[in-house]
Assembly symmetry: C2
Homo-oligomer: 331 residues x 2
């Protein structure tokens, strides 16, 4: 894979990389057909196989709903996994780059998150965990098909690799619809990060591989990487035009001013304002690392804020605290 050397520039557009492997143990039916005790047995087996890895094992039954939703906000677990903890466990590294949902749709969902565009590294880490498990346990594997999974769309490599893209300029140009159609022909999916009202939040899109069958992991990753880089180039070109537009520049500066001064902010408004400021920072208008903005946005999602608070916060209290934190962080 080429071009990953130009990290800074690519990171202005690619926020993070995720690689997920779906695996199942040969000896057990898929989780949907296991009762609570059987799920717990499967979780134990996998936990034991990764004994040396220094991963925290979180019994999902013991989490409060707020704690579970906070993990989902951070994309460490799925919303479905957060909503029902029965018999399930989560293995999580200290810095949250490695997470394994146990007994979600499949017995094992290994997930690696890396910042920026880093498919090779993310896959390497996932593959290593995968091998550690395979050394101790036997996967459901078919010579002709590959890894067997609950959902047929995962059959084969069981791998879903994705990159999170910040595409404010292409969105503004109305170019995302075409792009979505184009990447679909190349075996990829591009979709927005939707808010409650179906509106795309913060111009954030996820590009992921669609094909898992009849393609090697390496080929799938290369395909995704090369298309991600093409989109980065298109977005950068669109930004170069957009940034010369005075109305747009004004919007960026005002977004910054509002973040620095608002008395209250909803998480949705925060996400949208941060989108403008991130673009401004990437274009050199503000001296703020784009990673800091992503981290702030993640930290200030509702459930994550609640897990950090000693007393439960109302929505309005959160909005005020969120604004406070942003004012403080942007100095």
């Amino acid at each position: 894979m080429n071009n990953e050397s130009n990290c800074n520039s690519v990171s202005d557009v690619v926020l993070s990389t995720r690689v997920r492997l779906a695996r199942n143990l040969r000896k057990y039916p898929f989780p949907a057909r296991l009762d609570r005790d059987e799920k717990k047995t499967v979780c134990s087996l996998i936990k034991d196989a990764l004994d040396g890895e220094n991963l925290d094992c979180i019994d999902m039954e013991t989490l409060s709903p707020v704690e579970a939703v906070s993990l989902a906000e951070k994309h460490l677990i799925s919303a479905e996994f957060a909503s029902n903890g029965t018999g399930r466990s989560l293995l999580l590294s200290k810095n949250e780059d490695v997470s394994l949902m146990l007994c979600e749709e499949d017995h094992i969902r290994i997930q690696i998150i890396e910042s920026g565009l880093s498919l090779e590294e993310a896959y390497r880490k996932a593959d290593r965990i995968d091998s550690l498990i395979e050394n101790r346990l036997t996967y459901a594997f078919d010579e002709r098909i590959g890894y067997l999974t609950q959902c047929p769309t995962d059959l084969g490599t069981g791998m879903r690799a994705s990159v999170l893209l910040h595409l404010p300029a292409l969105s503004r140009k109305g170019a995302v619809r075409n792009l979505t159609a184009t990447v679909a022909k190349l075996g990829l999916t591009l979709r927005g990060s939707y808010g409650e009202d179906g509106e795309i939040l913060g111009d954030i899109y996820q590009l992921s591989n669609q094909v898992t069958l009849g393609i090697s992991e390496k080929a799938a990753l290369q395909n995704l990487n090369s298309i991600a880089l093409q989109i980065v180039t298109q977005e950068k070109q669109a930004r170069a035009v957009l940034i010369k537009d005075e109305d747009f520049m004004d919007k960026i500066f005002r977004a910054y001013g509002i973040l620095k001064s608002a008395y209250k902010l909803t998480s949705k408004e925060l996400t949208n304002l941060i989108s403008y400021v991130r673009l401004g920072a990437a274009e050199g208008l503000f001296d703020i690392p784009v990673e800091k903005l992503s981290a702030l946005n993640a930290e200030l999602q509702p459930a994550t804020m609640n897990t950090k608070s000693e007393v439960p916060l109302t929505r309005s209290q959160r909005d005020i605290k969120r604004a406070e934190r942003i004012r403080e962080a942007l100095g």
Copy 2:
């Protein structure tokens, strides 16, 4: 007049005081019936009568339209006076607190502007100028009626005294309509400062005396002063309630953030944002003297900006420069 001692508090609401005296010379018809040369003669007579006063004499015929409109923006002359300079002159003190329009509707319009609520002092200054002229020239005066003026609504004292009030809280409460009706019964007029689209700009209202006939200057000023103070009290009470409203507080802080960061600002938006910030400053949320905000708003009106620029500015250039100046001024 009482209560003027509590200056700071009153100045949060009363931006400025104006006293205007309309006078005409007995020997000459009203300006509407004078030709250019006759007007110039009248102007000369008055200028000479105030020879020792160190007032600049501006021949309105020599001003560019932009310079004339800038004087109107600063309320030193009327819009009508700005639009037609033929035969007219303006006498103006260095600090612009004293201005005399010569051959506007009347031969002489003496105007004093003071900051805050200062009717007594403004009247004292106007009366002094008035006496200086009367020492040298004979006014059109009727023992029974008083000073004779072109417009019958000025007959008598020829005095129009007014205070400029910042009433964001009463406006928000929808209380201004009732107030307008109430003060009308007491011989006063309350009216908003209207923008081009008929919208009230920056919650600024002018309270002025309506009656000039059959009332002494002193009584008229006392009436205006006492009603102004009552409105100040009402506005302050409404502010105390409003400031506890989190949505409103958020608006104030955001207005401040936008002023500190916008890339461009129209004069109308500036006026409206400054209204919020002035209220915030008055309530102790920001450490900015309210006078500074008024001065900035005046300085950044379109024609006034153009008079200060070496090259003519387009509207869009002004909007950018205006935002620049505000960012700089608010640090």
